[in-house]
Structures are given as structure tokens and as C-alpha cells.
Amino acid sequence: MIRKIIIVGSLISIPAIMYLAMQYGQPPSVSFAEAIDKTQHTSESDPASKVMVDVVITDASDLASIAATDNAGAGFSIQYTGTAPTSPLKTGMRARFVGHVHGGDTPIFHATQVLFP
């Protein structure tokens, strides 16, 4: 009986948990301005929450300072410190960067992951 309970419980709960994790483990897709806003609303002692920004790359000659434009048309700089992208970043390419904004006078987007939609 216990075995049946465990098997049935696992069959129901594990997919449910995976679904729940999908709901809670997805960063919001935002514009650069919204990403700045999220950083500004984070406490000084907490890390800024992670977000995704869809961009068109305008200059990828330096991974430490990638120039890009988001869907709202705002241009900004991305500092990429993640693992090597699965395909080389090129000007005009559409990409989705995952990371957070570092505030200050000239905010930049610190990305730790790049995905290709």
C-alpha cells in the first residue's frame, strides 16, 4: 500500500513541482528602463533581481562592453561575464541577455547568460 501511495504521489507531485518551478524560476522579460527601475527598487544590501532583456546588438567587438538596443529603442551597454556564447555575437543579431542593471550615473546591464531566441 505504501509503495502504491509513493508511486502515485510521485507521479502526481513531481510534474506539478516542475510546473511550479517553471512559474517561479523564470526571470521577467523587461526593457532596459524597466530593468533600471527594478534595480532602483532593490534594497542597498540586496542583489538586484535578475531580468531578461531582448536586444538587437549594435556592436559586439568587446564582450565587456557590448552596445545594444532594446525593443523600446533605448541604447545601452552590456557587460557580459558569462560563459562563451554558443554562437558568436554579431552586429544586427537578436539576442536575449539575462542579468541585472548596475546603477550609477551611467547604468550598464551586467549579463551572465545570453540566449538566442
Partner: protein, 779 residues
Amino acid sequence: MIGQLGIHLLFGLAVACTVHYALALRNGSTVQASIGRWLFRLMTGGLVVSAVGLTYLIVTHQFAYTYVWNYSSKELPLHLLIACFYSGQEGSILLWTLLVAAIGSVLQPYARRHGYESSVMLFYGLILSFLTLLLVAKNPFAYYHETFAASGITVEDIPVNGRGLNPLLHNAWITIHPPILFTGFASMSVSFAFAMAGLVRREYHRWIDIALPWTLFGTAVLGFGIMLGGFWAYETLGWGGFWGWDPVENSSLIPWLVVVALVHTMLVQKRTRGLVKTNMILAVVSFVMVLYSTFLTRSGVLGDTSVHSFVDPGKFAFWILLAFMVVFIVIGTGLVLFRRRDMNVSKEEFSPSTREFMLSIGASLTMASAVFVTIGTSWPVIMEVLGLPKVAVAVEFYNQIHQWLVPAVLLVNGVSLVVLWRSTSAERLRRGVIPALVVATCGSAVLFAFGIRSIWPLALGFAAWFSLAVNLREALRLVRSGPAMMGAYVSHTGIAMLMFGVICTSSYSTSYHAVLLHGLPKQVGPYTLTYLGKEQVERQFKDREKFRYYVRIVRDGKRRVVTPVLYWSDFNQRQSAFLEPGIAWGLMTDLYVSPKATGREDVFHSTVVMRGTTVTAPIDSAMRLTLERFTMPMEEGASADGRMQMAGLVKVSDAQGMPRGDLRLLTRITTGASGPMFDPVWQSLPGSTYAVGLVEIQRNNDDPTKSTGTLAFYDTAKPMPVGREEFTVEFSDKPLISLVWFGVIAMVAGFGLSIGRALSALKKKSAMVGSQNAPGTVA
């Protein structure tokens, strides 16, 4: 050089010890076992020497060693210097290895006494072999000049001081929490080694009796270590909670949950001889989860998904960690599978109205929690493998799951103590359950009356009351039998208390955001808070100006003073503030003051103006100011003292638009830790006694033409106003949070009683068995 060679030698000793115990087991050779024993002692002695050596290097500031340079500095007091020993990966692995060996030194004669020496120490030696191999990869005795040889560093280049310990770790708790947690981790190896020995020897029941005290010890120590971490977070980090479902917290919780399940299924097997395979599997899983959690938090795979920092350990250490885990998964599952037919000793089904059934259900629920927390903690890795954004799941994920699981576990716990082993009459079940249900219903009604309206806290409260009622009744019934019998009930009562603490803190805590002006009392809810001033502390550290802020809290004439701390440090390039809360501890309520920011009161008349727009001067309604534009820093050049400068070009006119003059309002900008700071050059406002200054520029990144400036005014006929110091805090009261801490203490005390009882039962059983397992038996 000696240190590095010593670590290699320790690895060699661990391997040799394992090989000799393997030979002793295969050949039944007492000589091989004796050699294995001495090799183990030698290795343990070597580890003690290494640990003492590393501590000596740290305390005497030998910065020629990379580890010493990386984690310590001359300014640290002795207790923190000692804590530097395990503040980095290398040192913490050495501590873990040392504690495994130290526990092994007690385990070895114990296992020998029960005739399990070779079979247990074989697996124990293998664990130590991997740990010492990890030490070879992450050697704490590496030289600075070797580590940075590629940067041109030579033997002569010895740093004059170290980088220092992370300021967040400058706390007394670092001297206690990690050693206890690692003792818990280390003791997880024992149940595994006994289970493997049981499989090798085809003794599927006896190992349970022998391993139970160790399993209880590991559960108690790891549980205590976890909650000490929670207490540390509460007392030091300032976010007001004690559990944040962070990967590092989860990595110790997962093995603990598994071992809690194991303790209960071991009890079932002890009584019924059932769950044989389950116990073998859980013993393997509890140890493997220690390794998996270690892999998650030390391999760098979680990257920046936690508030804790995960240092990439390098490829060699990464592969050793992976191999460590894989090897023990293969050994554990391999042996279980190999013996699976042999272990089918009991096919008895448990009736639902028995204790064994309820304990099995309780263990399953606990395992479910472990599995779900593992999924949540591993989520960034799963996502990365799937090519999706690598993000940790939100805290709500864990909370949502556990608002179902925890009440269920508490209810099952209560029922499991009402029912009997083997069979329970319906009458007994009724007599046991109904009074507890009445208590739970009344208790929940009290919670409802005190304002708890949400379903989940009420459900948790109901389950906690139910569990508490049953456990207290059983504990009181057993008082006459002596405290040793009460272990389980004391532990469960502790868990119920902990849950009440969680309910009260989460439901009744009130939080307020308050800006306190120096010396000015401020009403915050029912309390009056006054910021009394600040005092610089720890002046010996040159990387920070650390201030302790004094805040007085008054309610109903009762005064308390708390001292939160807020500062910036070069340690993290002043990217974020370091803060420590001020807590007024109380049995019924803690008053918690978390610092947020410091600043100065705005005492000027001020107005915000955007480029191309006109505003009325706040000091004269007949005066208009139009901001033409901001000049760029390159136009203005640096100020005399080297600061960056910008200016706002402002036209001054009267109400009719007649010009009164043009102003170039310069402001000098310093990039501070909390953003740019502006120091205006005050200028006379034409036609008035006022001066005007550009005190802030707010840049609009989307559209720089919409950037704004703040203009401040003061009357030059009077002294320039000076604003009072501001201290911004998050103030909260935490009713009955003390129940959390007392609950943990009760839980650990209960485990202590249970260990005593298990050891005493084992002694009696061994005496009855007689010479069958006398010392000297090799297997």
C-alpha cells in the same frame, strides 16, 4: 613545500588505508586490518598537524601562502583569524576532512567492538581518499608566488598584508556555525559506511542497531548547525528572517531531511524488520545528497544565483567533486541492486492503523520535501542544461510546497504516536486522536481570535497544536520511565514549537519604514524611536569607516537602546552596503531595527527643473527660472581639487518674463558608494538676498533631454542652514520568535536523549549476543 607534500602524503595514506581494509575484509586478515588501523591513525594525525599548521600560518600572518593572503589580514582579532581557517574553499575542505577523520577515530574502535571494523572502515577510507584528493586539488598550502606566477610574481614578492575576511563574516557565530555544520556533514558518512558494510556482510538488520546512535547524532548536529546558520542570518544580515531558501541553506537542509526520514525508517526496521531496502537506499541517498549539495555549492555551477558567493574551484577540483559524487552513487546503488534479491527478507504489508505505516508515510513526506527542495535548488542547473535562463526559483516556490507538506508531516507525526506497532484498535485510535483534535481546534480558534485569517497559517497552527498535544501527553506519560524514553517526544515538541514561532512571526510581525532625524523622537506604530547618534568602531580596519548607530525605542515608558551598524567597505569595492541589525531581544517579542541608509535632512527651499522648462522660485513667487541645458563634464573641466564638474545654465526672469540675469550653476560631483554626490557652488540670485545652487542632477537614461536638476535656495542674510543627520531604518517587532530558537534547542535535546537510549539498548543487546561479535573479528 612541506605543507603541499604533506597533503599529497595524506592522500596516499588514505588510499593505502582503504586498500588494507579491503584486503583485510577479503582475506579475513587481522594483520591487514591492523595495518589499516595504523594507517588511519597516521592519516588522522597528519590531518591534525595540517590543521594546526594552517592555523599557525594564519595567526602568524604568513602571507607567502595564497590561502592566508586571500582570507586573513593583520587587523583581525584572534577568534576571527582562527575562523579564517575555514573561510575559503581549501580550508573548509580541510576542516571537513579533519572532522571526518576525527569521527573516524571514534568510529574505528566502535566498529571494531561490534565486529564491523574492516567493512565499515573500507568505505570510510574511500570517502577520506576522495576528500584528501580534493585537498590535493584545493591545497591550502599553495604559495602566493606559485598561484600568481603567470602575473610575474616571484618568491620575493610577499604581500605585506592579506585581503582580509569578508566583513559579513566578522561575527562570533563564524567560530561556531561552520564547525558544527561540518561535523553534521561528516557524521553523514557513518550511516552510509554502516549500510554498505551491512550489504557487503549480508547483515541487513544488525547494522541498523549499530548505526542508529550515529545517525541520530548526525541528525541532531546537522539540524543544530542549520538552525545556528539561521540564527546567524537573523542576528547579522538584517533582512529580518532566519531562513531564505538560499542554495547554501538548502544544501545542508536536503541531507538533513533525508537523514530525518532515515532515522524513522530505521526505527520501523528495528521493530518490524521491514523497510530493509528503503533503509539501504536512504543511507546511500543521505550521503550522496551531502556530496551533491557540496557539488552544487562548490563547483561553481550555480554561478551568481545566490546571495552567497560561489567561487569557481577550477577544472581539476570540479571533476574530482563530480567523480566523488558519481563513484558513491555507483557504489551505493550498485551494492543495493546487487543484493536486492537477498534483501527480500520481509514482504509484510503494513496496516494503515499501525505506527510503522504512519512512520513510513511521515518519512515519505519528509523525502518529498527533500526531493522538491533538491529540484528547486538545482533549478538553475536544469535550466542551463535546457538552454533556458539560469535563474534560481523564487522563495514562494518553497513556501507554497511546504505550506502543504509541513502540516501533513505534523499531523502524521501526531497520529503515528497514537497508533501502536503492529496493530491498533479503533477504540485506542479514537481515544488518542479525539482529545488532540479538540486541543488543535481550540488552539486554532485562539489563533483565529488573535487575528490570523489566512488558511495556511491556520492549517499549520492546527497541525502544530495537534502534534504538540499528542507529544506532550506521551512525554508526560513517560516521565516516570525516565528521560531517556522521552527523546522522540521532546524532539517533536521542539518542532511544533518551532512551527508556532514561524506562525507568530510571519502573521503578527509588523514592519515600518522610518526616517529618523538625529535627536528627534519619531512615533513608529506604538513605539517611539529616536536616533541618538553614532560611534565609529573597529578603527583598525582601513578598508571601511564602520559606524554603530544608537537608536532608542520606547513603548509604555519602557526604554531599550539598539545599535544597528551600516557601512561601506573596499572589500566589495563599495558596491553594496554592509549592515547589521540592532535587536532588542525579548522572550515575547524581539524589536528589530534594520539599517537602510544614512543622509542629511533637506533644509533648503528647493525645486526640480527640467531642461527647457520654467519654474517659479520657491522663495519668491514673482521670480522665474528656466533651465536651458546641462553642460557636460568635458565642457567644465575638473574643479581645483580634481572633482568632475557639470553646470546647469539657468535664465532668471520676473513674472512678466523680463530677464534678470543668467546663471551658470556649477556643481562638483563625487562618485560615492551610494551614487553620485553633488557639491554646489552657490551663486547669488539676481534681485534677492538668496543664493541658489544645483544640488542634484537626475539623469534620464531613456531620454537625456528629460534629465532634471534640483535647485536649492537659502537666505544669505541668515547663516547657511545645516540639516540634521538622517538614519533610515526598517523597524519591526517579531512576536514569539524565541519559540523558533527554543524549539530547535528542544529538538536537539530530544535527539540527545534518543542517542542515549539507542546506545543503552545496543549495549544490552550486545551483552545478550555475547562473544559472537567480540573485538578482533575482522569483518
